[in-house]
Amino acid sequence: MSIIELNGLTKYYGKARGIEDVSFSVEEGEIFGFIGPNGAGKSTTIRTLLSLIYPTSGSAKIFGKDAFQYAPEIKKEIGYVPSEVFYYDNMKVNDLLKYSASFYKKDCSRRIKELAGLLDLDLHKKIDDLSFGNRKKVGIVQGLLHNPKLIILDEPTGGLDPLMQQKFFELLEEEKKKGVTILYSSHVLGEVQRLCDRVAIIKEGKIISLEKISTLRENSYKKFKLETHTRVDLGIFTMDGVSNLEAKEKEISFLFKGNINLMMKKVAEINLLNIWIEEPSLEEIFMHYYEKGE
């Protein structure tokens, strides 16, 4: 069953574009990456899913139910970690989390302790006195304390130190093992690469690509780096499938998508000193997407 189903979701703020014709679905138990630069429409999409904003047109379903009509019911099983955490001032962490838990008809106190312990969060401090990173932890605990079936994360790692990010990823992987579905929005590609099964790329309000992380990386692109004895005419590499072509001194690098044999023949003509053929990082692939503006 699809946990999230977006169909032609469009949102305009007056005349300003929010998102246009966004469609994708997230299957049960997967970690779905949602990626794009700032202002591309990630948060707009997520806020629409949570019925914080209403779409201009199109539909959204969560757990097979209309996300707007059945919003309160659906939200019992959704955990949301916002990108910026404000929260009521003048409250202790523990009180806020208890207040949050009081909306769900189950006992969450054990889970709160467990999560706080894992993330090394002091429950007895006032929220006012917390650093940005620690506030973020409050947001994470708050989003996960009721053991939701769907977790929606909007750039959740900002402010967390690398060690904490590591723990956080492990936490998400554990949730995934339990069968929880996760929508992970981010502009940090490494995170998505590491965690996600599939990824949707959004740019200027539109989904420009929807792929499995594995296909995206393994099948389509190879990263070539050549070191040569003498300067080589770059012209021989101008062919279909070559992108990001760069040359400095006696080093040439580019991304290649297509018949690898054709490329190998070309490379064979050159007097090489060294050669690297690697899987490109997602970062490089996405830069490619952004620039081409497909």
């Binding site: 703020y13 948060s43 806020r47 949570l50 019925s51 914080l52 904003i53 209403y54 919003a71 309160p72 019911e73 659906i74 939200k75 019992k76 959704i78 949301y80 916002p82 910026e84 404000f86 929260y87 009521y88 207040y99 949050s100 009081s102 909306f103 769900y104 708050q142």
Partner: protein, 263 residues
């Protein structure tokens, strides 16, 4: 229920502060009354020296000024002003606070927007009711204590209760403003601006005596001098007040339910 209790707790300090301030204010105001009543004749002469416009604006009528019910409207105007600020501030922050980021907390919980706004409204109402109960108790005790003749307590209560009605109006107006104004930067300045605006219209109008602009300021829906003289409310204005409250609150509910909660 959890939201209501949480909001109530959040209002605890401000309720206490406003309630105490109003109580202390009315004790101070009423404690100067003996000075007026004991020197009645001199006072009347002094007041006659004031232009009529100013007397009216200040709510002073010479004939009755030296009785408690004649004196009370004069000081009660300032109690109303304070009460209006308290209520408007409650009303404006009701939703404006929610728009500023905490929305992502409450509105992603399994509750409807109507439930959210109702819980907050009820908590604000309780806060106002507490203020009014304490105010009524303190002011009637004080009034009985200082009044030179036997005090018609009914009339005194009728006048004092207008604090509650006026607060309801400003609570509703505050709510309306907070959903209609796109982005409220400072809740306090919207509150003070509106309340003082209406208060000044009220002052101007009382001195000019123009009937038609009486509808413009909620401060004038309850003519305190009239109430203390006639021991009754003016029905058309009671209806008008009810209408303002219902329309403002209804609109707030409606707009808030459809509103996009911005990032």
């Amino acid at each position: 229920m959890n939201m209501f209790l949480h909001e109530l707790k959040a209002y605890r300090k401000s309720t206490l502060l406003w309630t105490l301030s109003l109580a202390i204010l009315i004790i101070l105001f009423l404690s100067i009354f003996p000075v007026f009543s004991q020197n009645a004749e001199e006072m009347k002469k002094l007041l006659e020296g004031y232009p009529e416009g100013i007397r009216k604006a200040l709510g002073i009528s010479i004939d009755s000024f030296t009785t408690l019910l004649g004196f009370y409207p004069f000081v009660f105007g300032y109690i109303l002003l304070c009460g209006a600020i308290q209520a408007m501030h409650l009303g404006t922050s009701l939703i404006a606070k929610e728009m500023k980021g905490t929305a992502e907390f409450l509105l992603v919980k399994p509750v409807t927007r109507h439930q959210v706004i109702t819980a907050k409204l009820l908590a604000a109402l309780v806060s106002i009711i507490i203020t009014n109960i304490v105010y009524l108790l303190v002011s009637s005790l004080m009034a009985t204590f200082i009044s030179t003749e036997t005090l018609t307590i009914n009339t005194f209560l009728l006048v004092s209760l207008t604090l509650f009605y006026l607060q309801l109006i400003f609570l509703a107006l505050g709510m309306l403003f907070s959903v209609v104004i796109p982005k409220i930067k400072s809740i306090l300045s919207v509150t003070l601006g509106t309340v003082f605006g209406f208060f000044i219209i009220n002052l101007l109008d009382s001195s000019v005596g123009e009937k038609s602009i009486r509808y413009l300021s909620p401060f004038e829906y309850f003519d305190i001098t009239y109430i203390s003289k006639n021991a009754s409310y003016e029905i058309p204005y009671v209806i008008l007040s009810l209408a303002v409250i219902l329309v403002a609150m209804g609109t707030s509910y409606f707009v808030f339910a459809k509103k996009d909660i911005g990032a």
